[in-house]
Amino acid sequence: MLQEIPSGLCFILSGILFTIGAIGAIIRRNVIVVFMCIELMLNAVNLVFIAAANALSSMDGSVFVFFIMTVAAVEAAVGLAIFVMVFRLQNTVNAYEVHLLKG
């Protein structure tokens, strides 16, 4: 039997994961890492959905998780393609060196 984990802990964990992801996305320079941080944020949100769905005995949250996973997969594909192109053009994937739109 699985031990029931209190949903409060899940929320705290997902909050921690989301914060780590957000901070990482802002301060890391390598876009691949930034990208991984974004995935982390998405998964933190997934965790909230699952926990809430379980606590509320509702399927809605689980359905959202599937959507998010799909979107995350698509995003990964598009994002990685963009990074490849950026690397070919600029020879770098350092977010601080790519600032052509500077005003």
């Binding site: 996305a25 977010a95 600032h99 739109l101």
Partner: protein, 660 residues
Amino acid sequence: MADTIWLIPFFPALGFILNSSIGSRTSKTFVSWVACLAIFLSFLTAAGVFWEFLQLPATARIYEREIYTWIASGELSVNIGFRLDALSVIMCLVVTGVGFLIHVYSVGYMHGDPGYRRFFIYLNLFVFMMLLLVTGNNLLLMFVGWEGVGLCSYLLIGFWYEKDSASDAGKKAFIVNRVGDFGFLIGIFFLFLSLGAQGVWTLNFGEIGRNAHLLSGGAATVITLLFFVGAIGKSAQIPLYVWLPDAMEGPTPVSSLIHAATMVTAGVYMIARLNFLYSMAPDTMLVVAIIGVLTAFFAASIGFAQYDIKKILAYSTISQLGFMFVAVGVGAYAAGIFHLMTHAFFKGLLFLGAGSVMHAMSGELDMRNMGGLRKKTPITYWTFFIACLAIAGIPGFSGFFSKDEILWKAFSSSQGHVLIWLLAAVTAGMTAFYMFRLFFGTFHGECRASEEVKHHIHESPRVMTIPLMILAFLALVGGYVGIPHLLGGENAIEKFLAPVFGPEIPVKAALNFDIVSAAWASGGAAGHDGSLELALMVASVLIALLGITIAYVFYVKNPGLPGRFAARCSGLYHWVHNKYFVDELYDLLFVRGTLKAGDFLLKVMDGWMIEGLVNGTADWVKRAGGRLRKVETGYVQEYAFGIIVGAIIVVGYLIVAPMF
């Protein structure tokens, strides 16, 4: 012919289009043929209509055809339509006939000019517009022609636009004419509204004529005065005459065609065309007659002290136009149109003669440097002589009949006055004097030109002298269409025009003899109408002969006399020589003020306010943008940071706000 009257303005338009589109790729010969033939075909058409009119009974002499609906908006409906009646057919014949001769003359005169094609394009356009003016069957179409001839006048005065004086003169003519045209346009609006208030919305001459009785006397006076303002501008009367002397900067055929024979008479034509309105407004007619006679006198006096032969002719034109306005002002419309016609002949001839003199004298215009041209340019001499006799009013020449008719009507008409007659008669004598001053100064005496110019003096080529001879013939016989009853004629032109002008203005009920006329008509002759007319006729001839005699004494017999005379009254001479300083006065009164106002508007309103507003807005936006663009760093992560901070603030607010 009735269905083909639109051809009259069409031919010059076609000539204009042909020459302006393919003229530059063809030879000069082609251009001149197209231009002259276009006018000649119009002339033939007009002559055909005239011939048909003579066969028809007097009341049937109106051809009116509408070919296109130009504007149809609510009550306003304007058609492009042409109306030929006794009045407009005479105008068409004068415009195309004299116009054709001047076109032919120009072929010789403008031969070496680099703007040869341009000249004929403008000239054809001018004739088209002038014919539109005289054949249009409504006021708006007439106004189109009116403005069109003004435009062509501007273009042709400034034809040699590299010369500052020419382009300035063109602008002056255009601007001064604007003042008059403004009055004309307001007059059209006012007439349209006043008739519209009576339920008749129309601009058509025929319909206006039929419904003119609906207008009140006051409205008729205002409308006719406004129209007269237009006539003052176009026909160079006091106070708007100042543009015409300057207009002599244009090529001489232009001065002849536009500024003597045709365009400047448009005002007279317009009043004659709207005679039914003017007859309703005796006050306006008095104004017209007074302005006319004052202009005639004033301009003639300026002619006394000018030396530029074209300027003298210009003042003479203003003066003769004054005579025409006297005629229409006293209700003698037919006499006005008669004088318009004979004036077109002899004044056109005088200008062409002056052009021929210039041609002989290598462009010299100052008669102080002329003299003795009689032997070297015999054709010019004799034709000029005929024209001078005609304008002076010597019996047998065309000017005599028309001028005498005007003088008689000014005296006898119930709208006339003996003072108007007196001033006009004195002016006639002055005209004879200054014209023969010009004539003797140019053709008689010793040649005062430099040796080099003297060497080149020659008669003009045949293409120029033949139009001179034809016009001289017309100036000689043109008057015989209007021999007064008194001399055994039947005044054919007046009879021909009678259907347009309605019943003749009655002769004064009791010809009330003032001191002047009583002196002449003392004795048994006083009561008899015919002998009075004869007495006045003899008087005017004597005045003209006196003028010529004085000119002869002054400039042939005793050439030192004018100089002594001028020295004696140097103040007066100086004043007249400088044209009474009217230009300077206008400069002081209007031009400088306008320039200052323009300067103010340019510097303060435009330069400071509008420019400040527009540029200030742009500046402000630019500066704000300059600040804001710093936000766009180009670093993706800073944007992400912004989004997160924003999200935290929003979420924080949503959490915190319900707590309070």
